[in-house]
């Protein structure tokens, strides 16, 4: 797995709760059913009010987002524990979400599913960055580089090897916590 993620950035503000990431009406979709997983991706972040976010994260009629990196403010992923939230973002093709702070369950679900790298930023980036900016996240060094300017992020620490492995189960197998498949 590549340790850098490059692409366009989508910028949101504080308190993006899981209803805005994946509205409750789409929780009838079961993430472990492949076609429903893909469908979840097409709805990622569609609960953001248009008045505040006129540019859609996933364009109308598309299944994938042009934004590989999401930058938010405080308390990203608060609210419901639905794992559909990091899954929808991952299924849409996004790889990294950067925020000043994360709600606990969302952060844990990112790690357990291996769908998204949740990185904390010590500085409030969501006021200065703009949707559509091009950026590169270096997961090893925990940095975000935009237009030649590098912002330091907080290292992922013990969560990184879990996401690198592809989530909780793959990590648990790799480290011998549970038995390997086809023992």
């Amino acid at each position: 797995m590549s340790q850098t993620v490059s692409g366009k950035i989508y910028v949101v503000k504080d308190n993006i709760d899981t209803d805005q990431i994946i509205p409750a009406q789409y929780l009838n979709l079961v993430p472990t059913i492949p076609e429903e997983y893909e469908k979840l991706g097409s709805y990622a972040l569609c609960g953001l009010p248009e008045s505040a976010y006129p540019v859609r994260f996933v364009p109308e009629g598309k299944g994938q987002t042009p934004y590989a990196i999401v930058v938010g403010g405080r308390n990203f992923g608060c609210g419901s524990s639905r794992e559909h939230a990091p899954i929808a973002m991952g299924a849409s093709g996004s790889r990294v979400v950067i925020a000043e702070s994360f709600a606990r369950i969302f952060f844990r679900n990112c790690v357990a599913t291996g769908e998204l790298y949740p990185l904390e930023t010590p500085r409030r980036l969501c006021e200065t960055l703009k949707t559509g900016d091009d950026g590169t996240v270096d997961l090893e060094k925990a940095t975000l580089t935009i237009n030649g300017k590098t912002h330091n992020l907080k290292p992922l620490g013990e969560a990184k090897p879990v996401i690198d492995a592809g989530g909780l189960f793959e990590y648990a197998r790799k480290t011998g916590m549970i038995e390997s498949r086809g023992k």
């Binding site: 509205p23 079961v30 524990s81």
Partner: protein, 455 residues
């Protein structure tokens, strides 16, 4: 150690744990429902194999409650996925919508939304049903695939919400890796004054510490004010720990807790032995504050987050289009009785929806008479649209045909627990959280109203 630390130490087989430790704990109860259960089952089968067996069928409780009374075919299918899994695994505690273990659930929209469409096995909203069905016991560990699982902390449990992947892991192993949270101490003193409810207490506290003020932390409520609260009140407070970002909320165990748990475990024949955790003299808190309940006033969380606090009496300028009472937080019998106390003898002037949390609440309201009239009839005559179909309903929006859902931009005052944009349906709507008293008074005036004017 704090209450939370004591439970986590015991569940991980250690003499002592401290905040920041990562420990593997044994699960006493795993709760799931129709929106996260099918995905959890999918993870379990993908990871442990199609023929795998769950670690302990008696420790799994499955309560369909979210998207039940809807014509959405995928939602109906999801209840069937639960039923198939229950049959395959021999899980005894499944509170099905229908009687037939081999049947299929299909909601019949032609009967309308108000008339009961469930079998006797159905239990309603999982967090309210769980204690009523004897699945909450002091000193135990409860994980649930729902953020409001923390409600069971009212019963002196460690209870927290998790995702499908963690829940799938528990289905196979019975264990989960947990970071021991720091504990915030909320000492409650005094008694609730007239017109003020447990909902006002927690809205006040969240406003105090902020919508993320308890992130990664345990919220411990104790003191004489906490002891004076009844179990329903404690549930309302513990339920909303998550609205401050809390990992769990927890109360002491006292004679009220024990009486409740003993009665409910006996009624449903569930495990009746338990070991509460009590307060140590030495506890390390990251935050410690005393709240005098007698000083509180009716409180609102304004759009768009549960920490956006205001007093009801300062919000009379806010016009409303809808009032709603229901959910795990605000749909209990005691909530509806408080609501009815204000509504009785008046007419609501805005669309007002009532969704009992459980079938027991429906029965209670249909059996309780005030001056020869049932509370249910009193509410209906006042113009409240009461449904017998107990469920989560419009608290979280749901499919577009969900009862009470905000399908266009509007202002709604509600006894539920969460008001981020789009929570109850339309993403340009504004949702105001309040106590059942305040929701009732506001339904009678059409703007946010301090209920003390009616008491």
């Amino acid at each position: 150690m704090t209450l939370t630390e004591k439970i986590l130490a015991r569940a991980s087989g250690k003499a002592e744990v401290k905040a920041g430790d990562n420990v593997w704990v044994n699960t006493d109860v795993l709760l799931t429902h129709d929106v996260c259960g099918p995905g959890t089952i999918g993870v379990f089968k993908r990871e442990f194999g199609q023929d795998a067996k769950v670690w302990d069928p008696k420790k799994i409780v499955i309560i369909p409650d979210h998207y039940i009374f809807t014509s959405d075919s995928k939602s109906n299918r999801n209840v069937d996925i639960l039923r198939d899994f229950v049959k395959e695994q021999g899980i005894p505690y499944f509170y099905d919508v229908i009687e037939d273990p081999n049947g299929h659930w299909v909601f019949d929209a032609s009967q309308g939304q108000l008339k009961r469409q469930y079998a006797a096995s159905y239990a309603g909203v999982c967090h309210t049903a769980l204690p009523l069905k004897g699945h909450t016991r002091p000193g135990e560990i409860l994980f649930g695939t729902d953020s409001h699982t923390c409600m069971a902390g009212a019963f002196n449990m460690f209870a927290t919400g998790i995702g499908n992947t963690d829940a799938g892991f528990i289905l196979g192993t019975g264990k989960l890796l947990v970071k021991v949270p720091e504990t915030m101490h909320f000492r409650l003193e005094g008694r609730l004054p007239k017109g003020v409810m447990a909902k006002d207490v927690i809205l006040h506290i969240i406003g105090d510490i902020g919508f993320d003020g308890a992130t990664y932390r345990a919220m411990q409520f104790d003191g004489p004010g906490a002891q004076a609260l009844d179990m329903d009140d404690r549930m309302t407070i513990a339920n909303m720990a998550i609205e401050a970002g809390g990992k769990n909320g927890i109360f002491e165990c006292d004679e009220k807790t024990i009486a409740f748990v003993n009665e409910k475990t006996r009624l449903n024949g569930t495990k009746s032995t338990f070991r509460p955790v009590d307060l140590d003299r030495d506890q390390t808190f990251i935050y410690d504050k005393t709240f005098d309940l007698s000083k509180l006033e009716p409180t609102i969380a304004l759009h768009p987050d549960p920490g956006n606090r205001a007093l009801a009496r300062e919000c009379a300028h806010i016009p409303l289009d809808r009032a709603y009472i229901g959910s795990c937080t605000g749909g209990k019998t005691s909530d509806f009785l408080a609501f009815a106390q204000i509504i009785k003898g008046h007419k609501v002037v805005i669309d007002t929806f009532g969704v009992p949390a459980t079938p027991d609440v429906v029965q209670d309201l249909q059996n309780t008479e005030w001056k020869g009239k049932t509370v249910w009839a009193i509410l209906e005559e006042a113009g409240v649209q009461m449904t017998e179909n107990a469920s989560c309903a419009a608290c979280l929006g749901g499919p577009t045909d969900t009862f009470g859902r905000l399908n266009r931009p509007m202002n709604c005052i509600t006894a539920t627990n969460r008001n981020f944009p789009g929570r109850m349906g339309h993403k340009e709507s504004k949702v105001f959280l309040a106590s059942p008293y305040t929701v009732a008074a506001s339904a009678l005036t059409g703007h946010i109203t301090d209920p003390r004017e009616y008491l």
